[in-house]
């Protein structure tokens, strides 16, 4: 049997030993015991503490930086500015638009200007307060729509458009001609703070040979390696980066932030010869790190009287702040998903990623999808209202099904569980019963129910080369180490790789160990983003496991005097498939391999097929597979105060294959609550470019007392790409809850809020308007 056939059989899922089992994660013990795992916990005692002097204004020329009094503070060992950078003063994720330390200009609040290193953090802070920066203030542009105007303040020399792309499918004018009903609305979403419980932190020290080692809270060690090498002006192979246990990430720790913390630490280490650590305060973190892009979305939708969508025209505008970060990629995903998961013959979408003088927006779980689904799904309900149709019926009439085409004219394949998700979610949520029950409700605490559907193109798609390397080592004692530069930061995905490896090898999970992501021992593997660890990393793990299995079976065959193809690994034994008595222990085979110098270290490499679509029209294959989902939310609205309480939420996802349903539920539940916050209570507010609430006492994420009763339904339509048919599920759970809540509130009150979050004030205002 060829490797391809074996993999095919594995993906079709014939009798799994471990896949689909609710296994415990491999990395939990240290966490429940509170062992020192995170970067600040393992910092050397003599590490210098760094304080960053940051811009307090959104847009200004820097006329002077006076560090004289700061230098005089006893215990200060170094004060560095841009002039002290030996390499290139750049720290950017995609477009080369961002310096590590500001020189002539600052473009947003929180931009780093100077670095202070001292024996302790109090001294560093005291010195930081003594640094005087002279600003010549410039006018600031703080709205992405304003930024589009020809006479707008220019954030960068090249203008304010960081990225533009479009979809042209069919003829949208013809589409609107065919429509009996056309509606047009503008939707707005807000900055959301990632609020990982561990703020950004990175540290660095010099090795004896002059190379630099960095340890930090991060998602992508190799980006940090490249970034630090660039700033120091040394070759990347002189920079070793190790990911420490990371206390939450959600996207913002994959791009500029860990480069900043590690590069600044490395600069200090290089200057002083001492190890250095930069740990952001929460206040600093909330100003300086990247957030979810706010969007303004103008949607025009046309449909026939019987509810068939004919045309969609969209203007999708994101605010990426002063520096693009991954804004140009977020806008691509937003553009491609802006219609929602529906069949629409004529589509015209124009999408702009705009610079402003607000603080930076960047990668954040969902990556544009939550924003456009809020708009698209609100729009579907508005259309249903206009057509006097049940919002579920309208959707079922238009959803993507196998054989239909997406907005980019990609053919939907058989692995499309959207209909089943919608059906099962609404059944479990008692959709029709509740709608009837709530219909005449005129009480003060009015109840409502709302639905939202989504599709989520898997993995990087058009965002880059989608590959991964996973190393698997069988040690002489038969323990198996899974090692990769893909990172764990809460998702459980790396344990999932071990589970996939164990399944492929036919070994029990308790033999497995995970190793630290380290550029010294792990191949560069692309970023840990886009929910791709299981889908792409899982394939690489399978390939490594397959290669090892092949070697084990060859040696086993030699010991058992038979063909390798008639052997299997099961229950700690290498046995003949037809004759169970012909067996040798796995331990023995491993020993034999080592004796014969058969290497039991293998590397699996997998790269997804490239996406192929037309540049001008975006028509073609934009993603290799899609995750689908449905969320039904129930709300109770206090119609006198506008407060929205969510008693119940029901979610259904087509996950392809649930590798570990227990970990999967954890991701779904966590994502749902993160999105609940996004929908109801989270708003990082800028006032004239300055963050008004950079504290957790004034920026509210959900607590344990804010959560609804929740039901999770898993649907499996195995996809073509992932191991055993798995689809991406790290991000999809945040795409819909806000949209479903918005629809539920509109259902309860009869009036719609077109902006997130659904604050009490906005809800009350909408209620008053309708009265």
């Amino acid at each position: 049997m060829t490797e391809a056939t074996l993999l095919q059989k594995l993906r079709e899922g014939e009798g799994f030993a471990l896949i689909g089992k609710r296994l415990q994660r491999l990395d939990a013990l240290g966490k429940v015991l509170g062992l020192p795992l995170y970067t600040s916990d393992i910092a050397p005692r003599d590490a210098l503490k760094i304080k960053v002097v940051r811009s307090t204004v959104p847009h200004a020329l820097i006329k002077g930086i006076d560090t004289e009094s700061a230098k005089k503070v006893p215990g200060v060992l170094a004060i560095l500015t841009a002039h002290d950078i030996p390499g290139i003063n750049e720290a950017y994720a995609l477009l080369p638009d961002r310096p590590l330390l500001a020189t002539a200009k600052v473009r947003c609040q929180g931009e780093a200007i100077a670095i202070i290193a001292a024996e302790d953090s109090e001294t560093a802070e005291e010195a930081g307060d003594k640094v005087r920066v002279e600003y010549e203030r410039l006018p600031a542009v703080t709205s992405p729509i304003e930024a589009m105007k020809p006479d707008a303040v220019r954030v960068h020399e090249g203008g304010n458009i960081a990225k533009y792309l479009k979809i042209r499918k069919g003829d949208v004018n013809e589409g609107f001609r065919q429509a009996d009903v056309t509606i047009e609305n503008t939707y707005k979403t807000q900055f959301q703070d990632p609020t990982a419980l561990e703020p950004e932190v990175g540290m660095a020290w010099l090795e004896k040979d002059g190379s630099v080692t960095c340890v930090g809270s991060m998602q992508t060690p190799y980006y940090v390696q490249t970034g630090v090498a660039r700033v120091l002006g040394i070759s990347p192979d002189k920079v070793r980066v190790i990911q420490a246990t990371t206390g939450g990430a959600f996207g913002p720790k994959s791009d500029e932030m860990p480069v900043d913390t590690c590069a600044m630490s490395a600069l200090v280490a290089r200057k002083t010869g001492r190890p250095a650590i930069l740990a952001y305060s929460r206040h600093e973190s909330m100003i300086a790190h990247t957030k979810r892009h706010p969007f303004v979305i103008m949607l025009k939708t046309g449909a026939t009287n019987d509810g068939r969508l004919t045309a969609s025209e969209a203007l999708v505008v994101s605010d990426t702040g002063a520096y693009a970060s991954l804004g140009p990629l977020v806008i691509i995903r937003a553009c491609f998903h802006a219609t929602g998961p529906y069949v629409i013959p004529h589509v015209k979408t124009d999408a702009y990623c705009m610079y402003t003088n607000n603080t930076m927006a960047g990668s954040f779980r969902g990556f544009g999808s939550p924003q456009v689904h809020f708009a698209a799904e609100s729009q579907m309900d508005e259309l249903a209202k206009k057509l006097d149709m049940d919002p579920l019926d309208l959707r079922m009439k238009n959803i993507l099904r196998p054989g239909t085409l997406t907005a980019t004219s990609q053919l939907v394949d058989e692995a499309c569980g959207l209909e089943e998700c919608a059906r099962r979610a609404t059944e479990a949520a008692e959709w029709h019963t509740r709608r009837r029950e709530f219909a005449g409700d005129r009480s003060t605490f009015r109840r409502g129910i709302g639905i939202a559907l989504m599709y989520h193109g898997n993995s990087l798609g058009p965002e880059g080369n989608d590959y991964a390397y996973v190393h698997v080592v069988i040690k002489p004692d038969t323990r198996v180490v899974v090692r990769t530069a893909l990172t764990e930061y809460g998702t459980g995905a790396i344990s999932g790789l071990a589970q996939i490896t164990a399944e492929t090898l036919g070994l029990p999970i308790d033999l497995f160990e995970l190793d630290r992501p380290d550029t010294a021992s792990c191949q560069e593997t692309g970023p840990t983003v886009a929910s791709r660890v299981i889908v792409i990393g899982g394939r690489a793990a399978q390939i490594a496991a397959q290669k090892l299995k092949h070697k084990i079976l060859i040696v086993g065959a030699d010991l058992l005097h038979c063909e390798a193809s008639s052997l299997t690994i099961k229950n700690g034994l290498v046995s003949h498939l037809q004759d169970e008595r012909r067996t040798v222990t796995f331990q023995k085979v491993v020993e034999e391999c080592y004796k014969r110098h058969v290497s039991l270290t293998e590397t699996g490499y997998y790269i997804a097929p490239k996406c192929d679509f037309e540049a001008e029209t975006s028509q073609g294959t934009t993603y290799q597979q899609y995750t689908y989902g449905a969320v039904v939310a129930e709300v109770q609205v206090d119609t006198e105060l506008g407060i929205v309480k969510p008693p119940r939420i029901t979610v259904a996802y087509d996950v392809g294959r649930a590798i570990n349903p227990l970990s999967l539920e954890g991701q779904i539940e966590g994502g749902t609550i993160q999105a609940l916050g996004y929908g109801l209570m989270e708003q990082l507010t800028h006032v004239d470019g300055v963050v008004a609430n950079p504290t957790l006492g004034d920026y509210y994420i959900p607590t344990s007392l804010d959560i609804p009763e929740m039901q999770t339904i898993i649907v499996e339509y195995p996809g073509a790409v992932g191991p055993f048919g798995a689809k991406a599920m790290g991000e999809p759970p945040v795409d819909l809850p806000a949209a479903a809540l918005a629809n539920a509130v509109a259902n309860a009150t009869g009036s719609r809020v077109f902006e997130l979050p659904l604050t009490a004030e906005k809800v009350l205002s909408a209620i008053r308007k309708a009265q």
Partner: protein, 155 residues
Amino acid sequence: MKFNVNGKDHALVVGSTERLLDVLRDRLNLKGVKEGCGTGDCGTCTVIMDGRLVNSCLILAVQARNRKITTIEGVGTSEKPHPIQKTIMKYNAAQCGFCIPAMVLAGKNLLDHNPKPSRDEIKEAISGVLCRCTGYYKLIEAIQDAAKEVSGVKV
């Protein structure tokens, strides 16, 4: 000043500006106590002080004199984990893990005072600790399950 941490008496000279959080982490090397915000809003610095949950980032070290403090390091071991530590592992309720020491302490303190808590009482007990990864569901389930073992109910 003298205080008792995880059953052991300590006598330390502390600075006036040192917080209990700093003394625990930096002087006593108890890294399980975290600093997530420094303003008493996230609860990752939670310790048990004289039988009550407190935010150690808001307490000056001197204010903890003569008190009895329990941190995560004083709860269970790898050979003999506390029931809550076992159930958190059972339900994969620890994702990034940063809030887990505080959650274990909140759960333990609850069960020490109330061995048969309702779901609402569990939610209330952990309401001072923020979690961004789990949505709280599996943490609540873990504490509820652990209560059974603590109160001796056969599962």
